[in-house]
Structure formats: structure tokens, C-alpha cells
Symmetry: C2
Subunit: 343 residues, 2 copies
């Protein structure tokens, strides 16, 4: 276990119950104590997960010498927003299971999944009110919440647009832009937002935002690799390909492939989710590896890790630098075997 | 045309373009200028509508002697929130047409309707930033936005719960609570929120909130009546009954009906939307009138109108009182014929 993993574990043990209490207080403050929304929220949160968005702000505070407890409300806000996107995502993607339990839309119906996600988006700012920080800091972070989450929603929108049958060319720029929106915002918010609440210098806030951007893309490429080459516990292998998702591997392969292979890949992506032939999924998994798409993605990951650590603002904050290094390591743990085989 | 109708029309002519500009500025500030979210927002807003949520805050400001222009950003925020609920509602209810145009989910797909509604919820607070008001007032109104909209979402949740096949008894209290959440919050926000931004005395803010609560229920009962006894321009008559909605008329009839009629009504509500027999819908429409449910609803409307105007806080603000009177009149205009026939 890395030092950062250990630190995350300790923060989780010390503060996670306070984070959940902060959410409960927001539910009560909004008069939702008797509402089924509360029950649905409880059901969804019990599915567990890493609670990374809740813990990250506390880890940043600790690295800046601020008591993590002060940022409990912000951790709750980030965790709620992340989970709002998961509840809506599961419905959008038609995913029926999350961490072994039926997803919200599957259990309570699509309308209630929309309601719950909406409610979580507006419970988050109420949690932020409970954060111990300057009024000014809280206001700036509130504005950041809206802007960062809008970038995430924009990324979602771009993902669906990329997935539409009308795609004729696969553009690495469009992929990168989609991922930056979809994934990076939900790392930038807890990291840069926490620094802002701790009244860190502007260049540190900025450096964390940039680092979170690179880490988010790194995380997503890792996730794309895992879907094809790992055992992710998903019901079927290669579910991204079956869903027609433009993944990092699809983008890398597209750049390397000849016309015939491009045509074959496109047919696979455009096939109906239920009707995608297993043989074609297996072909793609092999072809991505043999023709260098996997190697290209792994090289990308190395570049991104370097870029995340590159800012000079971290030289005065070695603990922050260690935090980012540790996060990259945690993110890449699930594909460590794949990285070693390729190296 | 009433004086208030005339005032609304003038406010619309003078400020509506500024309200729309405020939304555009929020879209740009969030970096969504190039996003398809912007295009979808434009498409949805072009469906028109009364823009009541945008104009109400300006009317309240005017009644309090404050320049309406100061509250343009708040009008934009209220209009965005209202339309976010419409975009998500249409998807939840499966409604394919809004004001003669395909709804967002019908035109762009369900995932994009979820994305657009989510985006509008977070664009609204950015518009509020553009309001000319004290920092303190803006902060309080921002907190009000989250709490009022959470009540609306809770009301939505209750509506779906009431609609479930598991309902064995129809409870007037549950109906009232559902409507208070679903409809009243989106009147309380623009009215009480506007008073707060204008630094009106606390008892005036409170009185507006109470009045908006009554007006919201009045509006909903009117809407329920219109669906059965008016020509609402909906594709089929009695669509609430076909959708299995618990309307004010259903609640009133339930109180008056014998066991056989209750059974018959319940069978109608629980029938599949597409398979609801026209004859049974016609039966209910007649039975509601003959057995006094319609009269009971109209009497309720009279009571609610009186309650909306009852606060002593309005005695020092005759213009506010006139505004509320005028709103009730505007809301009841579509069912004026029905009211006259029954009276």
C-alpha cells in the first residue's frame, strides 16, 4: 500500500461518517426528512464506492496544513455531485447494475432516477454551507461548482454526440475534449476547490486545476484499457465497444488503421448493444494490442503523469506533489499488470 | 385585459430580451459557447411559453418601487429552473410535444434531455450573479433557490409515488402536499425571492411566500379542471386520467363516491396509458360534474384566492396585493366559462 493510499484510508476512517452526516443535515435543512428522496439517496450511497470525491478535499487540506475537518461539508458536496452524475449516467447508458446492486432507475424507475440526480445537484451547495471557510472562499467555490459541473455535463453531451451513428471520422481532439469535460471536472473541483477554501495562493489553486485535468484524462484512459484488458467485474467483456463508446483505444487504433480495419471497427461500434458479435469484440481487443494502440495509450499515460507533476507551484508544497503522485499510482493500480507486460 | 396582464405584457416587451441575454452570458461564462447544450437550450426556449417565471420577479420589484431591470438576472434564473423542470418532466411523463414542437427528449434523445435539464439547473445560479442586489440578499436568495427547487423535486417524487399502482386510498392531504411541492415552489421562488433581493421587510417576503403557496395550488386545480373540461390543445382529452394522475378532481370525487364508483375510477387510473378506454374517460368527466367534484374544486379555488390575499403585510403594499389578485385572475382565465356555467 502506498503512503497516499494509507492517508486516504485514515481520512476515510476519521471523517467519512461526518461527511455522511453533512449530507443528512442538508436533507433535513431542505425539509426532505420524510421524503422518499432521502430513502433513495441512502440506497444509492450504500452501494459504496471509493468515496474518492469526498476524501480528496480532505487530503488536499491536510497537504496544506489545514485541519481536514474544516472541509467535511465540501467533501459531502463533491461526493453528492459525483453520485448525481452516476445516477443520471446509469440511466443514460441503460446500466442495470452498480457494484452488485440494481441501479436507481432499475430499482425505482427512470422518473425517480431523474428526480434523485436533480435533488443531489441541489443538495450539494447546501452541504458546502457547512464548510468552515471564509465567506469569500465559499462564494468562489460555489461559483466553481457550477462551472466545473457544467463542463462535466458538456463532456457528457459530447460523449453522446460522438456515439451517434453520424460519426464518420474519429478525432483525437474531440475525444480529449470530451474526456477533459466528463472526467477532469470532477477531479478539478475537489482538488482546486479545496485549495481555494484553504485560502491557498492562486498559483497553487491553478496548478491543482491543471494537474487534476491531466489526472482525469489519465484515469479515463486507464478505465478504457481496463474495460478491454482487465477484469472489471462487468457482466460482459468489452462493454464500451458494445455500447459504441469512443474510447482512448478506439481513437489510437483509428490513427493507425487502414481503410478496411477502420470500416470493420466502425461496424462494430455502430452495431446494436445487444447484437454486437463477440467475435468482433475479440478481434478488436487483439487488433488494438497488435497494431500498437494499447502501447500508444500507455505512453500517453506516462506523458500525462509527467504533466500532472510539472508545475513549479508544487516546489514549495512537497506534500501536494506527493498527493498527486500517489493519486496517479492509485489510479493505475488496476492496470499495473498490463503496464508491466507491455513495458 | 386586466391591468396586471397589461403590466406583464409591458414588462415582457421591455425586459425579455435582457433576460435572454442574461442566459446567453451565463452560457458563455460557463464556457458552453460552442456546446450543443447551447443549441438545445435555444431550441427549447424557442417553444415560447408565457415566460411567467421570468416576468414575476420584475413585477414584484415594480410593485415595491424598485427598477425591474435590477432583477433581470434573477428572472433568467427562475425561467431556467422552470424550464429545467419542464425538460425533465416531459421525459418523465413521455410527453412528445410541447407547444406544437417535439420535446427535447423526442428530438435529441433521452440522455440529452437529462443533460440539458441538469445544465439549466446549474446555469440558473450563474444568472443570479448578474442581478443587481446586495451580496447578502443574493446569498439568501441562492439558498432559497436550492431549498425551493428541492421542494419541487420532492413534489415530483410524491406525484410518481401517488401514481404507482400500489395506491389503495386517495388522500386529499397527500394531493395537497404533492401540489404544494410541485407547483407552489416555482411561484414562491420568483415572488419571495424577488422581495428578498429588493430588501423588502421580512414579513412581506413571508407573506409573498404564503400567497405563492395558495396561488400555486389554485393554478394546479385550474390546470386539472382544464384538462377535463377545457380545450387545452392536447392531442387527446383527459390526458391526466389516461396517465393515471391523481388530480384535484380525482381527489374530490373519491371523497364523494361509493365503493363501485371508486373501483371504476381506480381501474381507469391504473389502465395503461395507451389502452385507457375513451368511454371510461367520458364517464369520469360526467360523473365528476354530476356528483359535485367539479363544484368542490371550484369552491376550493375561491377559498385559495381569499387566502392568498389575506396577509396583513399587504395592507402597506397595495400594489403587491393587486399583483396577487391579478395573477389569480390570469390563472383562472382559461376556465372562466366553466366557472360561470357552474356559478
Amino acid at each position: 500500500m502506498t503512503t497516499i493510499e494509507q492517508a486516504f484510508r485514515e481520512l476515510t476512517q476519521s471523517y467519512m461518517s461526518q461527511v455522511l452526516t453533512s449530507m443528512d443535515q442538508a436533507v433535513e435543512a431542505a425539509g426532505l426528512g420524510e421524503s422518499s428522496l432521502k430513502a433513495m439517496l441512502g440506497y444509492h450511497l450504500e452501494t459504496g464506492g471509493k468515496r474518492l470525491r469526498a476524501i480528496l478535499p480532505l487530503a488536499v487540506a491536510q497537504s496544506l496544513g489545514v485541519a481536514p475537518e474544516a472541509l467535511v461539508g465540501f467533501g459531502a458536496a463533491c461526493e453528492l455531485i459525483h453520485n448525481a452524475t452516476l445516477v443520471h449516467d446509469d440511466l443514460q447508458d441503460g446500466d442495470e447494475v452498480r457494484r452488485g446492486k440494481p441501479t436507481i432507475w432499475k430499482k425505482f424507475g427512470a422518473p425517480q432516477a431523474i428526480n434523485l440526480g436533480d435533488a443531489m445537484l441541489y443538495l450539494a451547495p447546501i452541504c458546502l454551507e457547512q464548510t468552515r471557510a471564509s465567506v469569500d472562499g465559499r462564494q468562489r467555490v460555489l461559483a466553481r461548482i457550477f462551472r466545473d459541473v457544467l463542463k462535466v455535463i458538456d463532456g457528457q453531451e459530447r460523449e453522446f454526440a460522438l456515439q451517434e451513428g453520424s460519426v464518420h471520422d474519429i478525432d483525437p481532439q474531440a475525444y480529449r475534449q470530451m474526456v477533459r469535460g466528463k472526467t477532469s471536472g470532477l477531479f478539478a473541483l475537489p482538488m482546486a476547490g479545496a485549495a481555494e477554501l484553504c485560502d491557498a495562493p492562486a498559483e497553487v489553486v491553478q496548478a491543482l486545476e491543471v494537474a487534476a485535468g491531466h489526472l482525469g484524462v489519465l484515469f479515463q484512459i486507464q478505465d478504457d484499457i481496463l474495460d478491454l484488458y482487465g477484469e472489471k467485474g462487468r457482466a460482459t467483456f468489452g462493454s464500451d465497444l458494445r455500447e459504441g463508446k469512443i474510447s482512448a483505444l478506439v481513437v489510437a487504433f483509428w490513427q493507425l488503421a487502414d481503410a478496411e480495419n477502420r470500416r470493420r471497427l466502425m461496424a462494430l461500434l455502430q452495431a446494436d448493444r445487444q447484437a454486437t458479435p463477440d467475435d468482433e469484440v475479440r478481434w478488436a481487443i487483439e487488433a488494438f494490442r497488435e497494431q500498437g494502440a494499447l502501447a500508444e495509450c500507455l505512453a500517453d499515460i506516462d506523458r500525462l503523469r509527467g504533466q500532472a507533476l510539472a508545475s513549479e507551484a508544487f516546489s514549495a508544497y512537497p506534500d501536494l506533489r506527493r498527493l498527486i503522485e500517489g493519486m496517479a499510482q492509485i489510479f493505475l493500480e488496476p492496470i499495473r499488470d498490463i503496464m508491466e507486460v507491455q513495458a
